[in-house]
Each structure stands twice: as C-alpha cells, then as structure tokens.
Point group: C2
C-alpha cells in the first residue's frame, strides 16, 4: 500500500485557497476561476488577490498575498507568466505549501518560457512548495467539494470516476460529455506542463479518495516508466485504472540494429508496462468511459460465460458475435434454467442462449427471466438487450429489471437500442447505476473488461512475483565479461557467448580460427557437421555477406569453406576488418525461437520472445514483457506467440523443452535488469530440443552503451 | 447498369395499398399499421380490409379484398398465419401484384410454419405475386412517402441513407436511434424470412431511389453469394454500399482436410466477396451509420493526406494517432499555407499539421484557417476539432465554418467534443449535413472510409477485369483427368499433378516406385538429391507418419529409405493401404509459398495465397479472393501477405519470380472456377525461384466431391 505523499495533501484538502489574479471582468479567465470556486461549495476560506484591490462577489480583494488571513495553504495563480517567480516567493512567504499555476506562457511557447519554468521549479524546490501545472486548467473534487478550474459552467455532476489528464482541452470536453453520457466524476486533475507534480505522483492521492471507484488516465507518455509501473501496480490492486495512451505514432526513432530493438517500439513497452501494472488500455475516449462506468458500478464476474437475454433474434446474433470477438463465450444453460424459462415464456421462445423471449416480452417476463439466468451457476454475467419494444415501454421494462440487477452478485449490462423511445429507460438505468450502451457491441466489450479485471485480481500475487535472482557469483562473472568489452559497441562472439554462460544460459560457443587449417583442426575436435561464420564486428548481417556456411561434413569442406567465405565477405564488404572464422558444432534438431532483451528509454529493461530466424521482423510473431519477470509471466509471454504455442508440440514436432526456454527468458531478463549498460542482447536462434533435453543458444548478438 | 426488376415496382411506388387485418384496437399491430400508413402522407389510395367491416380513421373498412376499388397493387397482410394462403389467392384475384406479409408464425416457429411458408410461395409463384416477408416489419420510403410498418411513432426523419435489414428489431432500433444521431433515412426494408424477395433483389430497386445517397445493410448472410456479388458490384459503382455482417462465429463446420479449407472460414469468403463487390464492411452498428453519414454528405477526397485543425494540443495528438491507425497520413503543409496561417494566428500557434490555433481561437480564425488548409494541394481532406472553446461558443464557430465547408470540394469532418456546451453546434452541423463525431477517433475512421470509396471508384475498371480464360484445350484435358478420378475423394499424386499440368502450372511430378530397386532406378534417372514420399490415399499428413524423406543423395540411401519408410508408416497407420513410394527430384532453391483453392458453399470458388509449409494454419499469413480473378487483383492479393512481400526480395533472398506466382494464382483460380466438382486443391509448397526462373509445385493435394 502506497503512503500518500503528505506534501500533496493541500491540493485535495486545502485549509484555505487564495486566487491570485482574481478578476471582475467576465471575459477574463480570472473571473471564471473565482466564479467556479465560489459556486463549487468549497467550505474553507476563499481569498481573492489582485493588486487592484476592491471587492468581488461580496468578498474583499486583497492587494497582496501577504494580507490574506489564515488558514490558507493552496494558491491558484492566474497572472502573466513573467510575474510567476515573484508570486511563488510570495506564496512561500505566506506559508502556502501548494500552488496551481493555471497560467500559460512557459515551456509550450519556447526556450524563454522553459527558462522561466525552470526558475519557478527552483524556487518551489528551495521553498518547499509543490506545483501543479503550469499551463493547466487545475483540479476539482465534486465531493469535497472544490473547483479550481476556469471552465464555462456547468461543471461535472458528482460521481465515482476520477480523471487525470495530460490535456486540458480533453478535460473540458470530458466534463461536458460525461453529463450527456450519464456518469459523474469524483476528482479531475489537469497536469499541464508537469514542471513538478506528474501523472505518477497523482495516482495514489486520487485513489485515496473514497468516492473514487475507478481511475481513468489520458496519457501522452509517462515521466518515469518504472516509477509509474510501481505506483500503478499498487493502486490497481485496490482500484481499477484505465488508460488512453496517445502519441502512438509520434515515437522517436532509436539507434538500434537488432531485431529486438526494431520490434520494441514505444507501444510494445507501454503495453508490457500496462500489463505488468494491471492498467487496462482503451483505444478510444469512448471506450475509456464505457469501461469506467462498468468497473465503477458492477460486481466482478467469476468467469467469461455470458447469458444474453433478448426480445428479438437480430440483436441476439450481434451480441453473440461481439461477445466472441471480445474473448467471452455464451454460457451453456442448465436443464433447470431452461425448464424454469419454459414455464414463463411462450412456446416459440428460444430457451437456448441467447434467450429470445420474442417481441411481446413483458416487463415481468424480462425480470423473471433475468432472475432465472442469474441463478444458473454456469452464468457469470448477463447482457440484457432492449430494442424499443413493440408492445410495452422500455421504461417499464427498466423499472421491472432494476431491482433484480440491484440485488444480483453478478454483473448485468444493458444494450438499450434507440433514442427517443428508450429515453425514460436510459434515465432509470443511469439513476440506478446500471451501465447501458446503445448497441450490443459496446456492452460486450464492457463485460470483457470486467472479466479482465476479475482475472487480474485473481492472478495478482503470481503476476507480481519476480524471478529469483542468480546469486552474486553470476553477477560477478558477468561484470568481469562486460568490463572487458569497452563502454560502447558490439561484443565479439566469444564475449557475447561468455556473457550468456555467466547467467547459466546454455550456449553453443563458437571457436575462432585464423587459418583454414586451424578451422579444420577445430572442426575435427568439435565433431561434424559444423557451421562456419565470419568473425567481424563490421559485418552485421552475416548471411547477406556470404559470411555463413552450414552443414559442413568433413575437414576438406571446412578448409574450402574458410577460403570461399573470406573471399565472399571481402567482395561484399570491402572495408570490413575480418578477424577470422568461427567454427561451431551444428545443432541440427529442435525448434528455433528468438529471445531478446533491450533497455527501453522509458521503461528500462524489456525482454522479447517469439518466432526467430531472419524473418522475425516480417512475421512479427513476438511479445514483450518488462524485465525481470516471474515464471508465470514468462510462461504467459510464451503462450501469446505462435512460436510458443508450437513448443507444446505441433504435427510431427514433438513437445519441446518449455521449461528450459522459460529459464532462458527469465535469465536473459535478469541479465539486462542487472546491467543497464547492456543496451541490447539477442539470442537468434535459440534451438529448443525435446522436453527434458534442454536448449542451445546458436547465435547471440549483444551491444553495450554508455 | 442493372435493370430494376419490374415485378418489384409495386413495393416502392404502389398505385394503391390494401391493409388486410386493419384493426380498431390500439393494442393490435393492425391498428399501428393503419395509423402509420395514414400518417405517412402516402398519396395513393389506402384501403382497410377486415372481415368485421365498419369504418376506421374516417375510412370504410371493406369486408373482403374483392370489394376494394381501383387502383390497388400492393397488399400488407397482418392476419393469422393460417389464413395466409387464402389471402394470397384473394390478392391475386383482385389483381394485386405484390404483398408484404408482416405476420409471423412461419418458418421461425418450426416445421409446420415452414410448410405454410412453402405453400404461400407456391401460390405466389403460380399467380405472379411477389412477396416481402413473412415475419417482417415491412418497408417505408420517407420521400414518396409511404410507411407500411406497425412501429410506434415517431417514424424516421426523411434523409439520404437507405437501410435494408435481415432483422426487424434492428430496424426499429435504427429508426429511433437515427433521430438522436441527426440523420434521416430514405428507404427502409425489413426482409423477414425472405420466402421470395431477398437482400440481393432489393439492392437495385433501393439504389434507384434518387433520394438515396448510400445503402446500408444489416446482413445475417446472403441468399446466393455470386448473385449478391454481381448485383452489389453494379450498384456500388453508382452508390456506396456499407454492410454490417453478423453471425461471424455461428458459421457451420465444414468437412475439409486441407489447410486452405481450414483457413477459409465463412468470414474469409465474405471479406473476399465484399472486396470484389466494393462493399465496405463495418464491424459495429455505430460504424455503419458513422460512415454512412460521411458517404452521404461529403465529396470524395483525392488521396489519404489529411490536415487537422484544432484549438488544443491533446485532441490534435489523438487525431494524429487515429488517422495513422486508420491508414491515413498527415499532410505536409506547403510554405504558402504556413505563411498564410501565420498572418492570422498568434505567434505561439503551431503551424505544422495538426495546426493548433490555441485555446482562444475565434470563429473567424477557424473559418480562415480552414479555408487556407483547403486551398493547399497537399491536403485531401480536413478534420476540424472543436472542444468546448473557453473564449467563444461552439455554435458561433459552427456558423462561421459551415459556409466554408459548403463550398469546399474536399471533405471536412468535425470532431465535436462535449455535450451541453456543443449542443447548438451539433444542430447547425446536422442541419448543414456536415458529419460531426464526438471524438477524433470516429472522425478519423470516417475520413478513411471516404478515401477507401474514392480509391474503389478509381480502381473500378481494373478490379472488375477477369483473367483471360485458358483455351478449350486446357479445359478438355482437365476434364479428362477429372473424369478418371471418381466422383468423391482425394486424387492420387499423379492425378493431382496431372491436373495442375493441364492448366499450365509447372509441377515437379513424382514417380511411383513399388520396390526399393525400382525407386533407386527412378532416382538415378531423375538425378540427385531426391525426396521419397509414401504413396497412400489413407495417410493425410505424411510427415507425421514418417512418410517423407528428403535430400537422399545416392541409390543406396534411396533403397534403405524406401524400406524404412514402409516400416514406419505401417507402424504408425496400421490399416492404411500403401501403393508404394513416390520418388521426386528435390528442388532445393527458392522461397516456398502456398496456393490453394476451394469451393465456398456461399460464394463458390475462392483462391488463397500465403506462407506455406506445415505451419500455415499457425502463422495464418494467408489471404483469400473470389475466383477467377484479374492480374491486378492477384497482385494485390500477394501484397497483402508477408509471404508475398518477401517475394520482392528480403535480406539475402533475391527477388523471386512474382510474375510466375501470379500466373499460378490466376490459373488455379480459373481451374476451380471451371470445375465446381473440384472441392479443394492446394499446392504446398509452391517453390518460387529467382525472377525469370519460374516456379515449381512441389506437392499438391486435391479432392473432388459430388
């Protein structure tokens, strides 16, 4: 359980609030801010400050902060940016501990603004002030209540969904839109330029609010990937977190040469981080709040089996489709359930799931059928479908089923199809906190998110466990290998294989030969068949350069191969320094996979698993996870790829040594976690033998960076 | 251009309408139907028929159809199902040519109902009557106008979107929902059980309506796949067709053994059919009508480059993300455009795309900036983003930009974010037929659909071309091969390879050896290395049974291999009849792909291309198209898979003979199109040599079915 940071307390429970820049002029934001705070119902002292003095809304306007009476510990600053350093000094002098800089004119306008921002931060650090913003629309809490925004009224209705946002405009839109969607907000935080307080800092304080049932985030990035994961992991065990992460395609290019690096876009890292932290990712704003309502209002289901209750066939088919697409399945109803339904429904009704009561279904039939479905142990959740009923009113049906939904311990969502004819029903459902969606497709997704949340909580302990770290000897040995590698650039083949071996990853280490004869002697010693690979740090893609020869079966073949290879490589890459040729015994059996790891600039070490070979970037059959990771998470990583599924056995391929692969994933993940200077490392292929027979790293590339 | 079927004319422009089953009782559907037709404004004669006689809504109720005066050519029948045959006879007697059977109680209630339905059809066929339904809610046209439904009022507002639906409940929901979404309907057809008229029949008559700008379909399937494709292809050249196809997961299991068959689910066939017919597929009801509004109201863009105009950064990022995800791209604005924007926007505004005018943007700045963006030749369409503006009203901005959008020859869509503060703007945009969406994500998808439509119309001629058919000699030869194959079951290896050769597909035909010595002699003649494969129709997956040996390099290896293989196969599949062993020269170079074809139960011949090998079902890197197909469509089929992209050259793989692969796809597609008895045929692998060096079918499986 995270301890709330005491320095953030004044933001949410201020003893008194000073508005610096309060204004009489209704066209000024300083007026809107004063009006909103006055109207919000905030019960502490509200103090207006403006150098012009006078009075506003029946209160005195103080000419300076120094004149404001006690108690006051939060200031909202809406004055020209240039006066901000001085205003912050005045805040500190007055004993104020937290300030919301609503004003713009900082980093977002260029270098000069950035310098001003840095100056403000320096003052705040020195004087023990916490800052929200600048360039934000402030925060609000509908239950305390308090509203420090300058937005046009009406503000949000009180509710149980909290919203933390990197965009002020999205805040304004969400406040207004939520009203039409029939859900309320608990706390809302606009983060602005985040000179001090950032999205991660706000997670615990917002989650601590007893009125908040679910946290929603609009993220353009995170300030510190690992810190975000740590904080969000703790919060998400208590309350669900949903995130809309934008900026998908704006990700910068990285200097990477491995497949792992090329495939590990920012989005792979975010997905891995969200998975680890239990954060559910929405793709659109509407999804974000569709799902938030379900999480805020419904009990969690015990599984993925859904019953669909409808009064028409078409919407039932749509529901079945959408449920399957969302990874849910239709529950098989018991004989008892079907018999009970038969008693109350007409003979032509369909008693199989979806249960179709036919168009004439009455409110009472809706309510009783729902009760029967909820009583079936095979049913984990229910979707009720309600198009404008030809014989009854949707409102009447809503009134009949709401008491059933209220007392149910399983989630029920409603697909309420239409507009004018269903308006009364919409209002009943919203008042009763029953999630309603316009069509079955969105209702199905909401049920799937509830199941996902339920599974996350169930698996929670296991997900969080981390691999047992190799003992100090391993780390010591690896440190020695890396110490000899310089501070920047690719490791030689020997170094890279040696590094794997320090962490107990079985490797088919190649041996360097400088002459054809030396190669043949080595091959005789290793045993045939052997492979030859050119030894050159300057040749990244060896096959293309003619620098790989496989399946050589005797000494003459090795000698001829050696000479041919050097000739090829010199022709293709004329400038390259060639150290000789590696001789390696060939592992001929088993499946081939790739295991890689990199340092992500946001989230630190990531590990990747999937289909290997040269086509890895084309097939894209790979998955990422944060490193280090636990056995269960590693096993689930494997299961998400076709390469991993195949390891369980496929056609004539026998089941492979899954256990050994999992160990390689765990160990490579631990290696990059232990050594941040190891920028990327990639085993491709890792050859996986039959169950119990182990694995062998056939090729490995590794790079260190300062 | 399709000729409208004259027998369907009375459904849409009836000379007079008789309602059989008109009722005084407001709780009866026969009352709702009478009321709706009276209120609809239908200008022809309306005649109520009920055996009880009397009068209704100021009109006489005739005791029988025979008494109804001229002119009348359409009847709506809402009487108990049992009386329907007699009522149809009466319709025919009275000279009525079309009937809507609104009543239920037919196929949907079981065998007895199905028999009744068949009886009705027989009468209709015999007497020259066309039938809509039974078990439907009828049809309506808001412009004629006419309304033959019994739904609760209000009916739909007149508009330009037509809706044809397999579900009556969805019709009811869409009529009501459309009102809230701010778009109107032109024609609506509820198809019911489709005893006579089906979805395909209705395409042309609905498209002929001058008020209809776009057709939307809710489909649970199609009655005749190829006929649908033919009709839809013609209609979609004139007017866009959007379809929501449900029942994705309800698809029946097929008796198939090939990879092609296993991968060709109903959905692959529907996707291939929709692509060929130019039908745009939506995944949800909301998408269906989001896109319909854009297609109905906007000009088509000249390309995929979009300008985004916003007053805030966050929504701009969301827009950029969504556009990229939808396959669109941000236009690079010209120097001229940026200079013009700079003149009217504040210094801190962002003049790069997305253009951020900042929060204070005025209606005039919105309008002028939009005009400037539309004038840039690099801009093909524009998304305007409008969160509740802090300094102005959204309504004012809407009024300022609507004239600009009106006169633009490029599409403009609006992401209007909020609810209460944007209500006035919503109304202005809807009245002006400017598509508005609540968030940028949905606006981006709508722009992508406009681009897709534009590309379809541009490519139209080419898409439609079909491959030149092989001459009669080929067909004759193939017919002979198939004549010797029996009417059911798998072809032998020789037969299957021979079949390929008749259509000019290069094949590495295997030779049957019955003894080890015979195998060695054949191998000597073919040249080494050779492969051996067991010859047995009873062993489907030969590798698993130990029935494949590769890379045998001399006669002794062949002899030993022969004996080993037979021993293996007998051990693994004891009951199998083994005819001997096939000897085949091994093709060692080149890339491997799969080309398959099957007969789809709905759409007839389909061809498949993709990554081959035994993992084809795991990798799922395959794509389908309707067969036969044209060269351009074949090339695009290849380009959609990783296997096809790789053929252009990848790493050390040189560019392969794409031309030859395309020919194989065309020819195999033509073969299954020519011979419906060829149930499935699959070349796996097809080995593709370097450009100019051709292809070779290494293995082929084919099955015929009655």
């Amino acid at each position: 359980m995270n301890q709330p940071d005491p320095s953030l307390v004044p933001f949410f429970t201020p003893a008194g609030v000073a508005i610096v820049g309060a204004s009489h002029d209704p066209t000024k934001l300083g007026y809107g801010l004063s009006r909103n705070l006055m109207r919000s119902g905030y019960r502490g002292g509200i103090y207006f400050v403006n150098i012009k003095g006078g009075s506003l809304m029946g209160k005195p306007v103080y000419e300076s902060l120094a004149l404001v009476p006690d108690p006051v510990d939060l200031a909202v600053l809406l004055i020209p940016a240039g006066g901000m350093p001085q205003a912050l000094e005045a805040c500190a002098e007055r004993g104020i501990r937290a300030a919301i800089i609503a004003a713009g004119g900082f980093r977002e306008i260029g270098l000069q603004g950035a310098a001003l921002e840095a100056e403000c931060l320096a003052i705040a650090r020195q004087r023990g002030l916490r800052l929200l913003g600048p360039n934000c629309i402030g925060l609000l809490d509908t239950h305390l209540p308090i509203d420090t925004t300058f937005l046009s009224p009406p503000g949000p209705t009180p509710g149980d969904v909290a919203f933390i946002s990197h965009s002020g405009a999205i805040c304004a839109a969400v406040i207004d839109w939520a009203r039409g969607q029939g859900f309320g907000l608990s706390r809302l935080v606009s983060l602005g330029n985040q000179v001090d307080v950032n999205e991660t800092d706000m997670l615990a304080p917002v989650a601590d609010d007893p009125y908040t049932h679910v946290l929603t985030l609009y993220l353009e990035g995170v300030s510190d990937g690992r810190h975000f994961v740590a904080q969000a992991s703790q919060v998400s065990r208590r309350k669900p977190i949903l995130a809309l992460k934008v900026g998908r395609y704006a990700s910068g290019q990285r200097a990477v040469a491995s497949h792992t690096g090329a495939l590990a876009g920012t989005e792979s890292a975010f997905n891995a981080a969200f998975r680890r932290a239990g954060v559910i990712r929405a793709e659109t704003t509407e999804e974000l709040f569709d799902w938030a309502r379900a999480l805020a209002w419904c009990p969690l289901p015990g599984g993925r089996q859904v019953a669909v209750l409808t009064n028409a066939g078409g919407p039932g088919v749509t529901a079945a489709d959408s449920l399957e697409a969302a990874g849910m399945c239709l529950a098989s109803l018991s004989e008892t359930t079907r018999a009970a339904l038969q008693e109350i429904l007409p003979p032509a009704a369909s008693l199989h799931n979806p249960v179709d009561m036919l168009a004439a279904a009455s409110p009472q039939q809706y309510a009783s059928s729902l009760q029967i479905l909820l009583a079936d142990p095979a049913v984990h959740s229910v979707m009720v479908i309600l198009p404008p009923p030809p014989m009854h009113t949707a409102g009447g049906i809503a009134k009949a089923i709401i008491p059933v939904i209220y007392t149910a311990e399983k989630p029920v969502v409603v697909a309420l199809m239409g507009e004018r004819l269903i308006q009364e029903a919409v209002e009943h459902f919203r008042a009763a906190h029953v999630p309603e969606y316009r069509f079955p497709e969105r209702a199905a997704q909401a049920l799937a998110v509830l199941a996902q949340r339920s599974e996350y909580l169930a698996a929670n302990g296991a997900v969080a466990s981390e691999a047992s770290r190799p003992d100090g000897t391993h780390q010591q040995a690896a440190r020695q290998v890396l110490a000899n590698c310089g501070s920047e650039g690719w490791l030689s083949q020997e170094q890279a294989f040696a590094l794997l071996e320090t962490y107990g990853i079985p490797a088919n280490r190649p041996h360097l030969a400088r002459t054809p004869t030396e190669a043949a002697t080595l091959a005789d010693r290793l045993g045939y068949p052997v492979a030859l690979k050119v030894a050159s740090l300057d040749i990244a893609h060896k096959s293309e350069a003619g620098g790989v020869l496989l399946d050589l079966r005797d000494a003459p073949a090795v000698q001829i191969g050696f000479e041919q290879m050097l000739a090829n490589c010199r022709a293709v890459t004329p400038g390259a320094t060639i150290d000789g040729v590696y001789v390696q015994r060939m592992a001929v059996d088993g499946q081939e996979v790739i295991v890689g790891a990199i340092q992500d600039p946001q989230f630190g070490p990531l590990v990747m698993f999937g289909s290997g070979g040269v086509e890895v970037e084309g097939l894209k059959d790979v998955q990422f996870a944060l490193a280090p990771l636990g056995e269960e998470e590693a096993a689930s990583l494997l299961g998400k790829t076709w390469a991993g599924q195949k390891l369980r056995g496929f056609r004539h391929l026998p089941a492979a040594d899954l256990q050994a692969v999992t160990q390689v994933v765990l160990r490579l993940a631990q290696l990059v976690a232990d050594f941040p200077e190891l920028a990327e490392i990639e085993i491709n292929p890792l050859r996986v033998m039959q169950a119990g027979q182990g694995v062998l790293a056939v090729d490995v590339r590794a790079r260190v960076a300062g």
